[in-house]
Amino acid sequence: MSTTTLSAVTGQPPARDLTDGPTPGFGRALQAEWVKLRTVRSTGWTLLATFVLGAGLTILMCGLNADWLASPKADESPGSFITWGMMIAQICAVVLGALVVTSEYSTGMIRSTFAAVPTRGRVVAAKALLVSSVLFVVGTVTALVGYAGGNWFLDRAGIGMPLEGDVLRAMFGSGAFLAGIGLFTVAVGFILRHTAGTISAVLALMLILGNMVNLVPGTLGDWLVKLMPGNAGSAISTPVSFNPDVLGPWTGFGVFGLETAALLVLAWVLVRRRDA
């Protein structure tokens, strides 16, 4: 390895007045997080998996079930199938949201991050904004491609749906749901600071606990079903929900949004208070 003399590159006198340069604010933190997001392979892979599983499984399920859905035997609505793949794609969103945060803790990178951006709330906000924006776009595109493919089969069976009303809402709703899941997981990631712990906690809460609360008897059980984040948040991502007991799409998403916001506040408080 070569050693070059320093004077060639550090021509300026040290201890310069730092106010002459642009003062880095939230925009800089956001830019830094954007570079980070683009420069690890896991981002590309998880987004690709989101798309392939989300759109692919919707098309597959519509293709396999189109004739049955068109028959009088059907006890489900084709509207429940047109975004079917998003139920699986949400797992990829959880993985992305977790890795963006927890890989920094597992590698020690978080110290470089907080040394570069000591206003830690900016780091939380920048990660949250980026993850949710990317997932909103990818989720919406995934839903639209899934719709285009899936609806082709439904059309052939005579039960096609136009891209309007609840169907259109479900397209953007799929993006919004994935964005929300990403945010939710980012918050949990900052709270738990551990990759496997974060992914399993969120998936357990969304997928397993969300269904297990069905076993709780009475009105308490009914409300728990409605309020569990996965149940409340997912209604917006489908024209017709498989589960008739959940909250309406907008109410549910509002509840999910409040739950996510509460977790983000907790994450923000802990991140500022804890040693890095």
Binding site: P24, R28, V35, S42, S112, A116
Partner: protein, 314 residues
């Protein structure tokens, strides 16, 4: 300039709090290399993390250029640091690691290429950092610390994992940075390394400052030398030398004489007709001095009871 005042850090443990840094005061001045020397577990990394605002002091304070680290509008342009942990994502290339750092503080991207060249990593800049050897990782960390061209540079154990050529390079770099008027603060657990690199020494043991003096002063105080004498008539020799007011002590079958060099001692005894079998100047090594100084504060002792330092076997 770095200034610590009654800086204290306690970590909660299963059996009560553990004091990692115990109310220390120090000033790291610009224009010289200040060595932060202490055995493993002395509190060096914890102190440096507090300088960088990563760990909050339990009490006391530490400032960089007169203010808290977090109050800096562009911290990387004010203080550059290499931390003990890798603090690098293994899946990201060296260049990309520096790019996000530059972006975070509004540092021109041209600096990325400059520091990569400066640390000799330009040929592997596109490789993932996870493939780097320990030494290459250290070089990348040093590149990151130089990125913002900061007036204050903090390096935690920078020579760990470097080959001899790399160690020489760090030494030269530290010298150049200090000569440019920057504040250079470098930790190490190796006295021998500090002796070659530092102008000023801050010795820490069990969270307390044990010495804060120039390297020269430290050598004069701690690396004491004496003249060893073996002679058939040891008592005669002792009488002669004590008579001249020298500091003489007998250890086993030898005399130890302080305050005069070997030639002087030899001439004195020769003039008195004392026959000598041995006349040797014995110089205690700096490493010995450091071990003596920190013996009480070393956390981990070998079974023999001798203080053991991390990496001391090298």
């Amino acid at each position: 300039m770095i200034r610590a005042h009654a800086l204290t850090k306690r970590f909660p443990g299963p059996d009560g709090d553990r004091v990692a840094v115990d109310g220390i005061d120090f000033v790291v001045e610009p224009g010289r290399v200040t060595g932060f020397l202490g055995p493993n577990g002395a509190g060096k990394s914890t102190t440096m993390r507090m300088i960088l605002g990563l760990d909050a002091p339990t009490s006391g304070s530490v400032t960089v250029n007169g203010h808290r680290y977090a109050a800096s509008p562009a911290p990387l342009r004010e203080i550059g640091a290499l931390l003990d942990a890798h603090a690098i994502h293994p899946g990201r290339s060296a260049r990309d690691h520096l790019r996000w750092l530059a972006a975070s503080n509004g540092i021109p991207t041209t600096r990325v290429g400059e520091v990569l060249e400066q640390v000799g990593l330009e040929s592997v800049a596109g490789q993932r950092a996870g493939r780097f050897s320990l030494g290459m990782g250290q070089r990348l960390g040093i590149a990151a610390s130089l990125l913002g061209d900061p007036p204050v540079i903090v390096l935690d154990e920078p020579v760990n994992g470097l080959d001899p050529e790399g160690i020489r390079w760090v030494r030269k770099l530290a010298r150049e940075l200090a000569d440019e008027g920057r504040t250079v603060f470098i930790s190490s657990h190796l006295m021998s390394e500090m002796a070659l690199m530092a102008d000023h020494l801050l010795v820490i043991g069990r969270g307390s400052i044990l010495a804060d003096c120039s390297m020269q002063q430290f050598m004069a105080d701690h690396a004491a030398s004496y003249v060893r004498i073996k002679a058939p008539a040891l008592a005669d020799a002792q009488t002669v030398l004590s008579g001249r007011g020298l500091d003489v002590s007998q250890v086993d079958a030898e005399l130890r004489v302080g305050g005069l060099d070997a030639a002087g001692v030899g001439e004195l005894l020769g003039a008195s007709g004392v026959v000598l079998h041995e006349l040797t100047l014995v110089r205690a090594s700096l490493e010995d001095a450091f071990m003596t100084l920190t013996a009480d504060s070393v956390e981990y002792h070998a079974h023999s009871g001798a203080p053991v330092l991390e990496g001391a076997s090298r």
